[in-house]
Symmetry: C2
Subunit: 200 residues, 2 copies
Amino acid sequence: MPKLEFWYDFASTYSYLSAMRVETLAAAAGVTVDWRPFLLGPVFKAQGWATSPFVIYPAKGRYMVRDIARLAADRNLPFEMPAEFPARSLAACRLALLEGGENWTRNVSQALFVAAFAHGRDISDPTVLKRAITDAAPEADSDDMLARSIAPENKAALHLQSNRAVERGVFGAPSFVCDDGELFWGDDRLEYALRWAQVL
Amino acid sequence: MPKLEFWYDFASTYSYLSAMRVETLAAAAGVTVDWRPFLLGPVFKAQGWATSPFVIYPAKGRYMVRDIARLAADRNLPFEMPAEFPARSLAACRLALLEGGENWTRNVSQALFVAAFAHGRDISDPTVLKRAITDAAPEADSDDMLARSIAPENKAALHLQSNRAVERGVFGAPSFVCDDGELFWGDDRLEYALRWAQVL
């Protein structure tokens, strides 16, 4: 089966939209999804931004919230902006990167996105992180997983992941990368990315 | 019939995509299109940008060209980037703003977009502008129209138009504004804007 890399940051509203539909669309297209959480912060810094462009450019920020609200309503998705934007997504990203059994990264990522943007919760709060762990893997020891997520080897794994994102040409989220390296940026391009992946 | 304001700049590649399909889609939706050429430059300056973000952020600029090329191919639209990006679109904008008979603004705008992005021509070149005039209105006196386009009253009209864009909340192009003021940004939102306009 062709594979599609799905690069996302847990603070990214448009990544939420993609996270909630990528598996359904990919299954219909006969494409496997490779979930790739990463941190947008360093990528933005490399572009000269100290924070999200939606904060730097308030008109765009206000429009983005309105745009997401309209799209979410269209898709029958709940949507609530967290109080802090962009959310501090480091802890969530480390957690999603752990080895955690089949579909761990996908399941915990969806749980984290639901917490952040369906319920507007603070995903840097350990209580919220633990609930996401339990939602994704009811049998998991959430204290142990949180501890493992901040172990040196997992921090190194995240560093490696961020380097890979840059190597792939990722400059925003969500991004989709096909097996031949073709990159598509934004939830609006998910269908195009799947079509591209299909014919490789 | 409900109306949709279509705000565009002749230097904007995504505006080209919309200019070539907005009439067909609007007709099918039973919506009238109000063509509104304006200058992005002052709007970008207000956001702190001295030029197009596609120039300021080269990774985005490279991606944009690739993205437009893919979309244009999908739509059987020719696409060639002009040598200079962003193009100096002031003269073209003034020309399109003139009173010039039924559908003048639409017809000359499409001719200018075709010159700029189907043929990669320099739309600040008077020869290119004159050809666009003749394409849009074969009976027109192109020298006279060029002269009228730089008359003080037309310069004032462009100034007014740019103020209107800001009042409407426009921060990029293309933008679509419905009768109730709801704004949609980007060629990707044209269908949504038409659906919104339809139910007003």
